[in-house]
Symmetry: C2
Subunit: 229 residues, 2 copies
């Protein structure tokens, strides 16, 4: 007999820094894009904003600069970043254990989806890099009004795979994932593989922090997934 | 009257990530060098080892890999990293406030020096980038037996400028700086500008943590430097 209200967990994964090792390439690409329009922003400040929505990124950027940003510059930035990111893309690899983790969840009939603040065209490349089929449940920036740290991406992903967001475990490498998880009423789990410190993730609401997908897979019992021994 | 044993502070600065914004370029350069010899190491793990001695970096690397490293590969790595770093060097800039901080200390007759785990030829470029004269007190990896987190670099730097290491404030962006500071019996101050989280620096012994050199300059009274109002 199963008590009422009881349900098994589902997983909603961030992509960059969580399943694929692409955060530092995004950082360097933003750095190059900003320098092309004459903006010198410290690289660590860019790093700490990867994974948040583009609109919020630009607001954060405006606060750091001494002179106001003009509309043409703002409009040019996403394209310049995209071009620079593609120049660095050949260095992007799946994170250790990413494919194994997803395959194990599928094998155990644990539902999962990917939800990313990134644009559709880059996210599709990531899905391919992971060797996943084209019909992998994926929600990107293009499908929601507001990206992270708004809860929309994770809420939409839970809907897509037919699970209750309150039974879902959000796995992400950035504080924006964890803030979005809290706002969505999901449980947040952090990974160090995007370059944040352990405590930054804990203070943002991570219930547990693991090194990378391989480490999460090794400890998946700690987040309530039952595996036959 | 000045009580016996009383002395004014001196500053010993790390270079990469502390005075110049070069940590992420070093990270990407190591990533490229490792890929050239067929090693796929997660980028965040490289990031967390920037600033430690090359010998320790290689030991840490060996632990991460499944197959042993051969001598030829090990010998090739520093050169490959150096070449890759120079390819990314044009993106390197002084960190905000770095030159102003050093100029203010000089003006206030507070002794200071730079101590880096980096090689002499890259450190000299950093000194130039900061607009500092060639006779700036500088201790590099080439001048000591063991780089950070051994205390040798900071001990040698204190000797060079004739100050007691116990009156010295070590300013660095990495846990290796802060560990070296403790072992040298100096006071450690952390900067976020190398991309470590605040708590990682505090747990490694940072007495205070600031964003970057500009933020340290704005709060320099907190580490005991008296400025005329």
């Amino acid at each position: 007999m199963t008590p009422e209200g009881r349900s098994d967990p589902a997983f909603l994964f961030d992509l960059d820094g969580t399943l694929i090792d692409s955060v530092y390439q995004h950082v360097i690409a933003w750095r190059e894009a900003l320098m092309e329009v004459g903006i010198n922003l410290s690289v660590w400040k860019i790093h700490r904003r990867i994974g948040m929505s583009g609109g919020l990124f630009v607001s954060a950027l405006a606060r750091e600069l001494e002179s106001p940003l003009d509309r043409d510059t703002l409009d040019a930035l996403p394209g310049l970043h995209g071009e620079a990111f593609l120049r660095h893309y050949e260095g992007v690899r799946p994170l250790p254990g990413a494919s194994e983790l997803l395959a194990t969840l599928t094998e155990l009939a644990v539902p999962w989806a990917i939800a990313t603040s990134g644009a559709d065209r880059y996210a599709r490349r990531g899905v391919e890099l992971l060797g996943l089929p084209a019909d992998t449940p994926l929600v990107t920036r293009d499908q929601v009004r507001y990206a992270k740290p708004d809860p929309d991406l994770f809420l939409t992903a839970a809907e897509l795979i037919g699970v209750d967001i309150r039974d879902s475990i959000v796995v992400g490498d950035s504080v924006w994932d964890l803030l979005a998880a809290r706002r969505a009423r999901a449980l947040g789990v952090g990974l160090l593989s995007g370059g944040y410190g352990r405590e930054e993730l804990i203070y943002s609401g991570a219930y547990r922090v693991y090194e990378d997908p391989r480490d999460l897979l090794a400890h998946v019992d700690e987040v309530g997934v039952r595996r036959p021994i």
